[in-house]
Structure formats: structure tokens, C-alpha cells
């Protein structure tokens, strides 16, 4: 393990860490000095305003709906694009330009997409859905074409040699073979998008984040806290659900494969 080459690499990483720390002028002491400031926030929270729970709940539902629509739309668009971008199914003239386009889409963080779409279609959930869609396309398509490329080439070779068409190949080989990965990616993306949709509300793209940022702006931390708690509970519930789905479809597949 620890040969000359690896030692050199580890040494290089340590130097890079120290150099970055120094050059960025980070001051660890200010973190500890700042801790009492955080207490001020907590002191402000005398009584959590539970009357806002129903508003928080409704806006959380809106957030989930936005994330759901964005994930579904993004996923639907990403799949054909990732087929065009995979090296084992598409030609060079297809996958090279497609990868460039997807790299460009991926470069923008969702908050930037949200700002762009708020300018385009105005404030509200529509801008949020659009930005989540675009973000999902950029993010998921890379995962998708990588899992499509991971399909055993012998299977694809063998079945193309039967003379079936590309669309049949995709329907009967590519989708079933990569299904566990695709499902796992879908769950991950939805989970991620729910949290993200809460954030893009900050720029006015609808959802629960819009409330959180406004209450924080006016120093009404006890109200913001109610909304944050609702986000926390939702994320935990989604996490529990995705564990169930994962157990049922993905783990079962992986373990039964090992048994053979």
C-alpha cells in the first residue's frame, strides 16, 4: 500500500491542504469566538409559534409537489439524452456533442437556474419546477449514461447479433439491466431535490424556502424554525420510505445475484 508513489501523493495532498488553508486566510479562532452569537439566535426563540404549522405544512406539500414534478420531468428528459450520450449505444457523432451539452447544463447550480427562470416566468412554483427539471437533467444524465455503459458488453453484443433493432435493445436489455441503478438514482435525486427545492425558494421560486428566508430576514427565528422543523421531518420520512423501496427492489436484486 504505502509505496513511494502513494507516499508522494499523500504528501502532496497534505501540502495542498495546508497551503489552501493559509492562502484563504481562514481563522479557526473566529469560529469559536462566534459561538456565543449563535446563542443569541437561540435566545430569541422563546416560544415556537405552532399556529404556523398548517401554513408550513401546506408550503411543504407545495415543495414536495415541485420536487416531484421537477424530478419526474428531468428524469424523463434525461433518459433519452443519456442514451444518446452513452458510448456503447450511440455513435461518436452523437455522444461527444451530447456530453458537451450535458456538461454545460450541469455547470449551473440549481439556484442559478432558479434565478434565470424567475426572470423568465416570474416568481412562483413554475420557475422552481423548471429549475429543478434542468438541474435534474444535468445531474442524473451523467449517472444514467455511466450505468448504461456499465452493462456487460457481451450481453449487448450477443443480442445485437440476433439482429434486433436499437429500440428493442433499449426496451428489453438496456432498461432492465440498468433498472436497479436507475431506480436507486431516481430515489436519490428525489430526496436531494426535496431539500434543494426548499433552498431555491430563497430566490422566490416558490415552496417552503420562500417563507424561511422571509422570516429570517425579519429576525423572526421562532417562526422560521417551525418551517425548518417541517422540512426536517419530511426529509426523514422520505428517507425512511426510500429505504423501504431500496430493500424491496434493489437490495433483493443485489443479494440474489451474489447467491448464484
Amino acid at each position: 500500500m504505502l509505496n513511494y508513489k502513494n507516499n508522494l501523493l499523500i504528501g502532496f495532498l497534505i501540502i495542498a491542504f495546508i497551503y489552501s488553508y493559509l492562502i484563504l486566510n481562514l481563522d479557526i479562532i473566529s469560529f469559536f469566538n462566534g459561538l456565543p452569537n449563535l446563542l443569541i439566535i437561540f435566545n430569541e426563540i422563546h416560544n415556537i409559534d405552532y399556529s404556523l404549522l398548517s401554513v408550513a405544512f401546506v408550503s411543504m406539500i407545495e415543495t414536495i409537489q415541485m420536487a416531484f414534478l421537477g424530478t419526474a420531468l428531468g428524469y424523463l428528459f434525461a433518459f433519452p439524452l443519456s442514451i444518446l450520450a452513452s458510448r456503447n449505444l450511440a455513435s461518436k457523432y452523437s455522444y461527444l456533442p451530447m456530453r458537451c451539452v450535458l456538461a454545460v447544463v450541469r455547470t449551473f447550480p440549481s439556484i442559478l437556474w432558479a434565478i434565470l427562470f424567475v426572470i423568465m416566468v416570474g416568481l412562483g412554483p413554475f420557475a422552481g419546477v423548471l429549475s429543478i427539471t434542468l438541474y435534474t437533467i444535468g445531474f442524473i444524465s451523467k449517472l444514467q449514461y455511466e450505468s448504461i455503459e456499465a452493462i456487460d458488453s457481451e450481453i449487448i453484443d450477443n443480442i445485437t447479433s440476433i439482429g434486433i433493432s436499437k429500440s428493442q435493445l433499449i426496451r428489453y436489455v438496456v432498461i432492465p439491466e440498468s433498472a436497479p441503478h436507475l431506480l436507486s438514482q431516481l430515489l436519490f435525486t428525489f430526496d436531494y431535490n426535496v431539500r434543494h427545492t426548499s433552498v431555491i425558494g430563497l430566490v422566490g421560486a416558490g415552496g417552503i424556502g420562500f417563507y424561511i428566508i422571509n422570516y429570517i430576514k425579519f429576525f423572526e427565528y421562532e417562526k422560521a424554525l417551525v418551517f425548518m422543523l417541517v422540512v426536517l421531518i419530511t426529509v426523514i420520512i422520505i428517507d425512511l420510505c426510500s429505504v423501504k423501496i431500496r430493500d424491496k427492489y434493489i437490495i433483493k436484486f443485489a443479494t440474489s445475484k451474489k447467491l448464484n
Binding site: 450477443n158 440476433i162 432492465p176 433498472a179 448464484n260
Partner: protein, 255 residues
Amino acid sequence: MNNSLSSNNIIINMDKVWLSYDKIHYVLNEITMSVKQSTNYTIIGQSGSGKSTLLKLINGLLIPSKGKITVFGMTPNKKNKQFLNIMKKIGYIPQSLGLVKNISVLDNVLIGTLTRINKIKSILKILPEIEIDNAKQALELVGLEDKMEKKTYALSGGEKRRVAIARALAQKPILLLADEIVSELDHVTSKEIMNLISDTQHELKLTSVMIHHDIKLALDYADIVSVLQKGKKILEIGVNGNTITDFDMTKNQPC
């Protein structure tokens, strides 16, 4: 040598075929062979002797570096649209079987019938009854009719081989290419599978090119046995039952 003599149709013809993956080392050196209709042509040889490569040349997955191949009178190439119609009639069972693990046994066999089904309908999975029956018959033939609905990954090694055979049969091929189809299997199962193939072969007048590890098995079932060593064909013998009917030692002696 049974009816192959009466019908003098040559299905596969290779003329001084060379193949190299890296343009330096040749995997196949000057292979010349021809396979007549309804014969079982079996290739044996050590691993790395180029047997699997030879099969992939026949169905157009690989293109020779030098020399000429004709299969049903056409040059095999998977990118050639005209050869596609021939590919549909070639059943190919690679060593790794190439099954889709995550779908049912029946669906895997149905893949063999897809070329005869309308594209859009097959994508929506509206398959004609007759093709479903074909697939079921093929599964019955290999003795897997009670495991149709099972996922393919849950089968044993021998069962997976049977699925691959059933898929090739559902394709209704006129040429069957099988790469070490019974290696890794116990003696009884390999006999069963070979008998099955040999029976259907006689029934359907199928031509086949097979690769075996086991020389005894090759002699039992083949009409012609050809020996490859380091990419060269060193021997070709005609077999009928236990008698060797033809013997041809080519000039390329191994070193």
C-alpha cells in the same frame, strides 16, 4: 457423413482468414474452412487458441484483418443492413450466455422472437400469441416450462444455459453458433443438453458451428472436428459415429 454429402450447399466459407486485434499479434492465422448445410462443425483447442474469435467472425461481430468470409453468400458485418437479415437467422450462444439477468426467463426467450415482431408493438410489449407460444415451446423443449416466470438471475448455471439455448431456438435459426455451451457443467447435464441440440438439429436441418473443450464430447456429436492451436488450424477430421471418415493434416504444423 449423412445428408450433408447429398446437399452440397456450403453455408460458411473462409478463405485464408487472418485476424488481429492490435495489428501486431495475429489471433487467427490463415484459417481456411467450409461448413456444409446440416453439418455439425466442431472446433476444439486450448483456451486462447482463437476459437471464440472465429465464431464472432461468422456472425459479423468481428471483421477479419485479411482474407475473405462468406456466410450464406454474404460477407458478415454487423453494420451491413443486408447482412442484418442473415443475422436474424443465426442463433448465437456466447460463452457468457449474454442473458438479461433482470427479466423473466420467458422474456429472455421472447427476445429471440423480436426480429419477427413489429417494432412499435414489441416496445409496448404487445406480442402476438403465436410468438409467445413459440417461446413457450422452446422452453418446454429445454425442460424449463415450470420456471418461465422466474427471474433469470435466480437460476442455476445449467438452467441459464438452457434459457440461452431456448432463446436461440425461439429465433428459428438456420445456423447455430455455440461457444463452449456445456463447459463447467457436470457430465449428465452436458450429455442432456448436447442430445437436445443434436435432436433439434436433425429435426430442423440446422447447421451448427460449436466450440468444445472436451474432445470426447466433440467426437460424439460432430460431423467434422477441427483443431485450432495458437490461431492455426492444425487438423480437420470427419467423424461418423466412432469412425474417423476423413483426415486432413494441414501443412501448418505447430511449433
